[in-house]
Every structure is written in C-alpha cells, then in structure tokens.
C-alpha cells in the first residue's frame, strides 16, 4: 500500500513539475510577442553593419527593426558591482520588443547620434544597484566610465534561463564602443501582420543572403520556432521525470503483489473454513477481488491526494509553475488498481481451487 502511494504520488508530482515548466516557458515566450523575428548574424568573419541592417527595413510588411550589439559589462553604483548583459540599440527597440518603461525615458535617436553615455536599466539591474530607490538621474559606472541612468524597464521575467531583467540598455553607437565592434549581432524585426510572418521571414532571408552571401552565417527565426524548440526540450524532461516516477510506481506494484501473495497464503485456512461452510469458488474469488480493489484503489486515491498536496507545497516553496495532468493521474491510479487486481486475483484463484480439507488442515 505504501509502495503504491509513493509511486502514484511521485508520478503526479514529477509530471506536474515537468509540465509546469513547459507551460512556464510557453507563457514567457508567448509574452515576447509572436510577431517578432530575430535576425542573428552568427558567422565570425562576416561584416554586418548598421547600414546593412537598415536594408531589412525595406522589406515589405515590416513595422520596425531594432539592430543590437551585445556584450557583458560590469556596472557599478557606489560600492555595488554587478555583471550584466549590455544591449546597444536604437529607439525603436522599446516598441519592437514590446517593452514597458517603469520610469524615466528610453533611448532617443539623438543619444545614438551623440554617442551619449546614458543607460536604461533592466528592473533586476536597477534593484541590484539602487535597491528600492529611483535610479533615474543617478549615474553608474559602466566598465569604469560614468553613465547617466535615464530610465528603468518593467520586469519581463526570464526565459530559457536568461533573465530579461538583468540588462542594461545603451545607445547603439555607445554599445558598439563598449563591445569593441561595429558589427550588428542581432536584429529584432517586428512585422505588421502576424499572419504574414513566414512570408516576411523568407523575404528577409533573401535580403540577408544578398548582403552576406553565405547562408550559414545568419539565421532568421521567429519566437514560435524558439517556443517549439523549448517545448520539445521540456517535453523530453517531463518524459524523463515521469519515466523515473513510473519506475517507482512499478516498484509499488511489486509491493502490492507481495502483500497479496502473502495474504492469500496466510489465509488459506480461512479459505478452507469458508469453503467448508458452503462458499463456492466464485465467492472466494469475489471476496479477494473486492479486497484487492479496495486496497489498491484506496492506495491510489491517497497517492493522488499526496501527489497533489506535495506539488502544491513545491510550488508554494519554490514559486515554480506546476501543471496537473488529469490523464497521468488517471493512468497512475489505473495502474495501481490493475496491479492490485491482477496480483490479488491470481493467487486467490489458486487458493480457491484448493480442496476444503487440505485448506482446513493448513496451519
């Protein structure tokens, strides 16, 4: 019974956690917008400048683009130092990535032209450097140079293990200096109509090919593509977690099997008494069948209950998302019932065939 409880509950918890994280990722990626394409230049010996990125804008059906350079920098405020990812970009980034400002302003075109040493902080970066205070108007040191904070972004959460909030955004020209490159790494493209995204995507591909000339040195992907990849990774994880839990369920099943086998052999005398006073074979079978069903289904129900409660505790303690799977609950419950019934009835069937005299003599 304990075995089946542990087995059923662990399957439910594992699958709830696995599916929860899948759902988490899907939600996050969905929030990034499904009308955004990511154009990444991956080749190390190709050049892709800001002017090249501007050519993407000429493709039909595009609402806006935001070329970026990125790198990691050290930001310092007073005595607090933190390593964050730096994004150098243009004013359109806010709209293309669908971000919200918590306070202050975003980067303006003028900042880009002037190579201004200004910065917009991600919400985590702001909190790390300034605590609960308002950083707007304060200055920070980025790789030793003084920058003025002009704005703070709303939190966007993290996806695929990268926090979207531990960032610092600077004008593109300033970012190129910090990253010591004029190459644009990633360009975000917002399309006018979500339905035409595949069409736009292939047109961007051809534009990119005409600029770079090497199909292996760039990639154009949508959030949907990323989402699918992430989901498949998560599904594999769910499968693995569920698989290991299923093994414990099988172990629980073996436990039930043992209980049933022992109980039948212990109760041979009882079977003899019952047969002597008029129980037929089917009466004996029915009795053991009912006992097996009651035992294993109550174990299954308790297992489901403990599973749900432990998953709730898990989500409260860790804050992670969980998602219950009704089919998995039914499946594990059904499995425990099946094991109980099969291994309850199999030895009972044998015992019910015993001669009443022999069963009575059994001590």
């Amino acid at each position: 019974m304990l075995g089946i409880i542990i087995g059923v509950s662990s399957v439910i918890v594992m699958v709830a956690i696995g599916q929860g994280s899948t759902k988490d990722v899907q939600d996050q990626m969905g929030s990034l917008g499904t009308n955004v394409l990511t154009v990444s230049v991956t080749g190390s010996d190709v050049t892709f400048k800001e002017e090249d990125a501007e050519q993407i804008k000429d493709v039909n059906g595009i609402e806006g683009i935001a070329p970026t350079v990125s790198g990691r920098i050290t930001a310092k405020s007073g005595k607090t130092t933190t390593q964050v990812s730096m994004i150098g970009t243009t004013s359109s980034y806010l709209d293309v990535r669908d971000l919200q400002l918590q306070s202050g302003r975003f980067i303006a075109d003028l900042d880009h032209e002037n190579h201004s040493k200004i910065a917009v902080l991600g919400s985590d970066t702001a909190q790390t450097l300034f605590g609960l205070g308002d950083p707007v108007g304060e200055s920070i040191k980025v790789n030793g140079t003084s920058y003025k904070v002009v704005g703070v972004l709303e939190s966007v959460g993290s996806s695929l293990g990268t926090s979207g909030d531990s960032t610092i955004i600077v004008p593109l020209s300033t970012g190129q200096r910090l990253a010591s490159t004029t190459n644009i790494g990633t360009t975000y493209v917002k399309v006018e109509n979500e339905d035409t995204i595949n069409f736009v995507s292939s047109r961007i591909e051809s534009t990119m090919y005409s600029i770079i000339g090497d199909a292996d040195s760039y990639s154009v992907s949508s959030q949907k593509d990323l989402m699918e990849t992430a989901s498949s990774v998560n599904e594999t994880m769910t499968l693995m977690l569920g698989g290991s839990a299923a093994i414990s369920l099988i172990v629980g099943g073996i436990g039930i099997m043992n209980i049933m086998l022992v109980s039948v052999s212990e109760r041979t005398k009882e079977i003899g008494i019952r047969k002597a006073i008029g129980a037929k074979r089917k009466n004996i079978l029915l009795q053991f069948l009912i006992e097996a069903i009651v035992l294993s289904s109550s174990g299954g129900i308790i297992g489901v209950g403990i599973g749900v409660v432990s998953a709730q505790i898990y989500t409260v303690v860790t804050g992670a998302t969980i998602a219950y799977s009704i089919p998995v609950m039914l499946l594990s419950f059904g499995f425990s019932l099946l094991v109980g019934v099969v291994f309850g009835v199999f030895p009972a069937n044998k015992a019910s065939k015993l001669d009443p005299i022999q069963a009575l003599r059994y001590e």
Partner: protein, 245 residues
C-alpha cells in the same frame, strides 16, 4: 423409529488414497443409515478411516464408489459447486479447533453460512443473533474470537452450525480442545439440540463423549461395525485398557 425417514443412506462406500506410492483403503465397503432425529456417535482411533468417513458424510470429499444419499439426493456424482451448496444448506459443521475466522466478530462468524446463501444483511444478522441466543452467547456477539474462551468459541461454532437450520449437525471431536468441565457444557448443549429434533453426528475417539449418543458405531481399519453398543459394554467392563486412543 422404524417409520422415521432416513436422512443419510450410505451403501458400499469405498475410498482409496495413494500414500507414498502405496494404495491405502481408507474405507472398505461401508454402509450406514441415519434417521432424522438420531444422535449417533462414530468412534474410532486415528488412522481408522474415521476422518475420511467424516469428510464423506460432510460432503467435503467424494467417494470412489458406492452410494451416498443425503436427504434423498445422490452426492457421489455432484460437482464441487453443488457440494458447496449441499454443505451450506444441509450440514452444520462443528470442528475440534473451532475454526473461527479471527478477524470477524462472533456474530459475523455465525453469519458466514447465511452470506453464502445470498441472504440480506438485516435478515441474516437477525438469524445469527437468534442462533447465538440458543447457545447463550447473545451478550458476546461483538467479541472477536481472541476475546472468547475455548468453550465460548465452540459455542459460537455451534451457533454458526445452527444458523442456517441445516438438517444435520456434524461434529468432529467437538470437545477435543476443551477441558472436561467445558466439554460437559458443550455435550449438554448438543444433547438439548438433539431433544429439539436436530440430527447429530458426533465423531470422536473418546468413549465418554461417544456414550452421549443414543447410537454408537465403531470404525476400524476402514470398516464400520454396527455393534457399537456391545463393544461399548465390553469396553466398560475392561475399563481403561480398551479405551481407544
């Protein structure tokens, strides 16, 4: 007595066993007639075929040959499920070691034969309690066998045997596991049940127990002797020496 209908008619019953490659004739052409309302003792030492004969009368086993009419029904050719029904309806068993089901209370044990008759819960509880009343244990209905003395357990067993009003009570060494005082109580109950009209078959190796019955038959080496009375008188003259152990 002559006009009373026989309830059990056994003619030329034989039973063989294979024991370690050897064939043992446990019953050799045994014939017996028991009438309704009889109180009969079957006496014999262990190994005499007494247990085999009891199993035959109790429909727990089938003879190899011969005829067994119980209440005018031929038992010999019945299937095991039919035998189960016969045991349930015609025979009340009283065993030497009580054979209570330990996890069931006294009244639940008494209910058992009624359950297998498919009787409704309320009705069978009523019958079981009435049966416990007969053996003077109504007050212990909800006790577990472990909370009862040996004598009380045997009285519960008698109540269980009586519960379904079977025509025959078959008692196999009912006092074998009891002290002499309790044995007397149990035998007194059986005597009074016989006076109420129950047919009782008592199987024992103990002369003192056997002489409670109005008729004594003796089984020896698989053969049945109707001379229980004469033999009984001999045994009394010869005192302890003749007592069969």
């Amino acid at each position: 007595m002559g006009m009373v209908e026989p309830i059990i008619q056994i003619r030329n019953m034989e039973k063989m066993y294979e024991l370690g490659g050897e064939t043992v004739m446990a019953l050799k052409s045994v014939s017996l007639e028991i009438k309704k309302g009889d109180f009969i003792s079957i006496i014999g030492p262990s190994g005499s075929g007494k247990s085999t004969f009891m199993n035959m009368i109790g429909c727990l086993d089938r003879p190899d040959s011969g005829e067994y009419l119980l209440d005018n029904e031929e038992i010999g050719k019945m299937k095991s499920s039919q035998l189960a029904t016969i045991r349930n309806e015609k025979i009340g068993f009283i065993f030497q070691n009580f054979n209570m089901i330990p996890k069931l209370t006294a009244v639940e044990n008494v209910e058992l034969p009624l359950i297998y008759r498919g009787m409704k819960a309320v009705e069978r509880r009523k019958m079981a309690l009435a049966s416990l009343e007969k053996v003077g244990l109504a007050g212990r209905a909800n006790h577990l066998p472990s909370q009862l003395s040996g004598g009380q357990q045997q009285r519960v067993a008698i109540a269980r045997a009586l519960a379904g009003h079977p025509p025959i009570l078959l008692a196999d060494e009912p006092t074998g596991a009891l002290d002499s005082k309790t044995s007397k109580e149990i035998l007194a109950i059986m005597n009074s049940l016989n006076e109420q009209g129950h047919t009782i078959i008592l199987i024992t190796h103990d002369l003192d127990v056997a002489k409670q019955a109005s008729r004594v038959v003796r089984i020896h080496d698989g053969q049945l002797y109707e001379n229980g009375g004469e033999w009984f008188a001999d045994a009394q003259n010869g005192a302890e020496k003749h007592q069969i152990k």
